[in-house]
Symmetry: C2
């Protein structure tokens, strides 16, 4: 089973919008055993859409298009789809009732008339009700092939994919969805791609037939993706387990999680296990570390809060950093980072705390303390506070991202010492 994704929208071709939809759809299709052969991104241009649809429809079992279904004049996709399949647009009464009800639920009694057009669909298509917006998804099935078009707004598209599209595809292609693809990703932090590859060794020595290993570097670490294709789920899982075991035997200490884990989630899970709280004191990251933690649901059992001390004055007044530390060592120093961590830990009464202070740039660097220099401290009740110095390059947002991630990694390693033998 093979699919192509058509992402439609000028905004994607001028770089205004990042194509997050294609990856979200790919992930969901893979999960039910449909591989994605290609993503084609084209503009709101009839000729280009028709050309791409022709190629995609010829070479795949499933085609999923997104974008251009909105109520405004620049949304042409539905008309082009109708033209491609030689269908006329007809009013779908159920959809119209749903659109009207949506406006009422927001307290808008007089619906803008342009929205009536949302209920016009190509004849013979099935409208997929969109509970997150006004444009329905549209599905067409012919000779064992399925075409689907969804609105481009990510949270509408995601809702339609999971609630309508996947169940429909599983029904329509029941017989062919036997072959399984397993992807499993091990997430590492704090090690470069080629050093990691040397540690893990030559893939020929441990990869089975039909299995691949990919190295995917990103801001704070390298992801290792194991892929196994086979006829049954049983075989693939065993093969993936064996490869994972080999990799872990070579690089366990750098691996913080799997698949969609985030470092913050892993840290929160470990904190839950030992029933400990953590607090934060942030300077150059200005809330990014805390924000990563608070993305995790159910956080309140381990995180009471933090202090953002962007100014030195706040480091003094809120965190109790001594004036002589700031004078003698400066705000970007082991001494200041440690004092920040200890200050917030004592104030908030937590077992652990993290502090970050550094130079995110573009200004403020010097020869001795260049842009990208960051001190991270980890304090723990009844233990000596530790601090580490990093050099994270010279791009403000990369420096901030790496600082927050490496702080999380510091506490993860500490928590693992406590949970030795526990699954991370």
């Amino acid at each position: 089973m093979q699919a192509e994704i058509l992402s439609i929208g000028d905004e994607l071709l001028i770089g205004q919008v990042i194509n997050t939809n294609a990856s979200a759809i790919s992930k969901q299709l893979n999960a039910i055993g449909i591989g994605v052969s290609r993503v084609t991104t084209i503009g709101d241009n009839e000729k280009e859409i028709l050309r791409a649809m022709k190629e995609a429809w010829k070479k795949n079992d499933v085609v999923i298009a997104t974008g251009g279904l909105g109520p405004t004049h620049d949304d042409i996709s539905k008309h082009v789809v109708a033209k491609f399949f030689k269908k006329k647009l007809v009013l779908d009464k159920k959809t119209l009732a749903h659109v009207r009800a949506r406006f009422r639920s927001f307290g808008i009694t007089k619906m803008p008339e342009v929205n009536v057009g949302q209920a016009m669909i190509p004849e013979g298509f099935i409208a997929l009700r969109n509970d997150r917006g006004t444009a329905p998804g549209l599905l067409y099935h012919e000779k064992g092939k399925t075409f689907i078009i969804l609105p481009g707004v990510p949270h509408e598209m995601n809702w339609l994919m999971s609630k309508c599209v996947l169940p429909e595809l599983q029904k329509l292609h029941k017989k062919k969805l036997g072959e399984a693809i397993i992807h499993r990703t091990l997430l590492t932090v704090g090690i470069g791609e080629s050093t990691l590859a040397e540690k893990i060794g030559n893939v020929k020595d441990f990869l089975a037939k039909g299995a691949t290993l990919a190295y995917l570097p990103k801001t704070s670490g390298v992801r290792l993706r194991i892929s196994v294709r086979a006829e049954t789920n049983v075989g693939t899982k065993k093969i993936a387990d064996r490869i994972e075991k080999h990799i872990r035997s070579k690089a366990q200490q750098y691996i913080y999680g799997k698949d969609d884990d985030t470092l913050a989630q892993v840290v929160v899970r470990l904190l839950h296990k030992v029933n400990a709280h953590i607090s934060t004191a942030e300077s150059c990251t200005g809330g990014l570390l805390s924000s990563k933690l608070t993305e995790v649901a159910g956080l309140s059992k381990v995180f009471p809060g933090g202090i953002i001390s962007y100014h030195d004055q706040i480091k003094k007044s809120e965190l109790g950093v001594g004036a002589e530390i700031l004078k003698r060592y400066g705000a970007v120093s082991a001494e200041c980072a440690k004092a920040m961590a200890e200050g917030v830990r004592e104030k908030f009464g937590t077992r652990f705390s993290l502090a970050i202070t550094g130079i995110a740039g573009p200004d403020g660097g010097s020869k001795r303390k260049p842009v990208g220099m960051v001190w991270i401290a980890l304090a723990e009740k009844d233990k000596p506070t530790m601090a580490k110095c990093f050099q994270f390059g010279n791009e403000r947002n990369i420096i901030r991202e790496r600082s927050a991630d490496l702080a999380l990694e510091m506490v993860r390693r500490r928590l693992l010492e406590k949970n030795s033998g526990a699954d991370s």
Copy 2:
């Protein structure tokens, strides 16, 4: 001048990695007058890469590929490119010296041998030195057409695009780069797509020939993109100005900025103008608001810091929220939001402050206070504190994003009252 982007990598087709490179490259090409006709994403698969390269090379003046240039076994792009152009790989000594020097600069004296392969390039290609990594960019020019391949790691790709690729393309295609494309985007917040379209009116009444207007909804607002294609820069700019003026006359109050502005940047600029400081008190957003502010460089003149009070106990101890407020009204209430804002403002001695308290879910909602309910308060010295209640749906991260953005919007509107007539 027309280009196609080829994004190569299995990780893009299984949804593991979002294709941020394609939009970054599109934006940079547009800026020098090269339109992108299509982005094709394919896997690390020789047959698929060759098929995509053939189509792209036939239909475009410029083809830019990314991905698969790393040092590990799964990186096949360079070999496939060499095969497509019928070139053999040869050692580029300059590149090898550069790769060795990079390892030395990180204090690694024994370079992993696999990295020697990074210096092998197809004969007749130009190696573009990569100061951010070990894989050079590769450029090939033939019969007025240019092919380029870059590493897929975003910050390496971006560095190579701006430092090497754009200057090379401008040199190689000097004659053809006359025709200009202008894109200009007005950014709105706090208004839905169809209501905005009704306010702005029928595009036929105000769009000139060759001009388009696109509505692009995202989490916290709708972007309005004006595009004008013409022969000279002068004409396009005038036409874009006229369209912008029309839109502003209809929807000025919702427009917070242009193009790559962020709400945080706009707020920081306005604060600079009136020389005022702001502080933050965050509960459900847990640092996201402060993190958005601290993404902006040069922030320290207006932002001393903030308090993340995820627990009620911290709301009391750090922000002075009265126990009776929490008991009588609860943490998600106008009273608590106002007390949080006033507490942090007084503590940090700032003129303004913002506070956010709400239910980000998935748990913690009730019939009276459902998930998605958020109170945002704005305090200002010598003024009554205001608070507003929002209902932001039921997805944790969308609730958090919208909360942070609408908080920024509240202070933006307040600052505009002070700067009436000033350009936002």
